[in-house]
């Protein structure tokens, strides 16, 4: 093994849903129309895939660009290899979460606590004449079941400390 390079990195990414990265031939179509191209440090699926192929774990771990994705699907639509770059970006995020807990988005605990990323019980509903919310946010029994289901997932088992009942 060349120092600092880990050939197993690619396998780990494939395991996490990034199987398509083997299709990439580094043409750069994925970044040609990426909205983050305007940023000082743009998200480049091409570059991230190259880091994975080179097995550069540390470099990949410190990349914050995968989290900039606006999920517009441009790269998915245009990739000539049909490699679904967005799915690869998601796989890289998952790998980063696995390597470093601080990457795990706190919104997960919000969803576990009330079923939504935000408080959907807006007091304005009544004034507007909207019907009562019937999602898990306003239904104890359904919320309990929802949490019960989430407790079966690996993400709950692994990061259980971020999930709170209230």
């Amino acid at each position: 093994m060349i120092e600092g390079r880990d050939p197993k990195l690619m396998e780990e990414l494939i395991e996490l849903g990034g199987a398509d990265l083997v299709k990439c031939y580094q043409c750069g179509t994925c970044i040609a129309d990426c909205p983050t191209g305007f940023a000082e440090t743009p998200l480049s699926a091409k570059r991230l895939i190259h880091l994975v192929k080179l097995g550069l774990r540390e470099k990949l771990l410190e990349e914050e660009t995968p989290w900039m994705c606006v999920t517009c699907g441009g790269c998915e639509e245009r990739c000539p290899r049909e490699a679904e770059p967005f799915e690869i970006v998601l796989a890289i995020r998952r790998w980063q979460c696995k390597e470093d807990d601080t990457y795990v988005p706190l919104a997960l605990s919000e969803i576990f606590a009330r079923g939504h990323t935000q408080n959907v019980l807006n007091p304005m509903r009544k004034e507007l004449g909207l019907p009562e919310i019937v999602t898990v946010a306003n239904n104890r029994e359904a919320l309990q079941k929802f949490r019960e289901m989430l407790k079966e997932t690996n993400v709950y088992k692994r990061y259980s400390y971020i999930f709170r009942e209230e």
Binding site: M68, H116, L130, T135
Partner: protein, 296 residues
Amino acid sequence: MKFCLFLGCNMPAIRPDVELSIRLSLQTLGVEVLDIEGASCCPAFGTFPSVDEEATLAINAWNLANAERKGADIIVQCGSCYSSLKLGRYKLMHGKLEEINQKFLSKVGLRYEGKTDVRHLIDVMHNVIGVERIRNSLKFSMKGMKVVVQNPCHVLRPSKKVGFDDPENPVAFRNIVKALGAEVPRYSRERQCCGGAGGFAKHDKTSNLEFLKKKLDAMKDEVDPDCIAVSCITCLMHMDNAQAELRKLGMIDYQIPVFDYCQLLAICQGHEPSKVARIATTPRDVVIGKILKNRI
């Protein structure tokens, strides 16, 4: 005709007036709107999908199964919700369904059969209800007004999995806006993403604003529209709120009101503007006033 309305998080939390406009305009068109008992977050891409794919599919299936119990397809406005549910359903229907049912849904007495599909509001308006029925439901018209459209990225791409329109030259949204009587001129950056979803704005605010400014400038310089029509809660909030920031920073000196499609439709159908289009950062009174002068 009936549909299960998927609320998501941002719409009921921050823009409940949009939810009202969707409910009222669909009802006026003769669509029965059902609520999904026990629905949750879709889940959004920045949450479970960024950590664990299996958990993501479990939550997708949870929502799909709860809608399926109502015996109707899902209708959804938010682009991210549409994409998360639609892509999740695609994965479930291409091999993951039994595993997810068994590992997760069966533990809480649920099961997704795969019958309930996910449809975006534009798709239902254009391909199920149709422009003729939309036209016939109107009491007011947008005749004489220029409206530019912002297609939600998530309904166009990846077209093989989520699409119902030509991804390079989408027509459905233009057609249903035209049905309100408005002129829908093209502009060069019509297909550009608004930039509001995901972490772009959080990671690099300045570049994100510059990106949106390009789009707004193209609208202003090439068309000078009365307003922008969107059909995604993120497009609505971002294009509306970011304009105030751009003005504050001296990056633009104009303002273009932003409406969700159903807000324009509901107003044209005679629903109360102060209810269906209550919340906005960029003032919309001039546009509403113009519509109300145009009784059919």
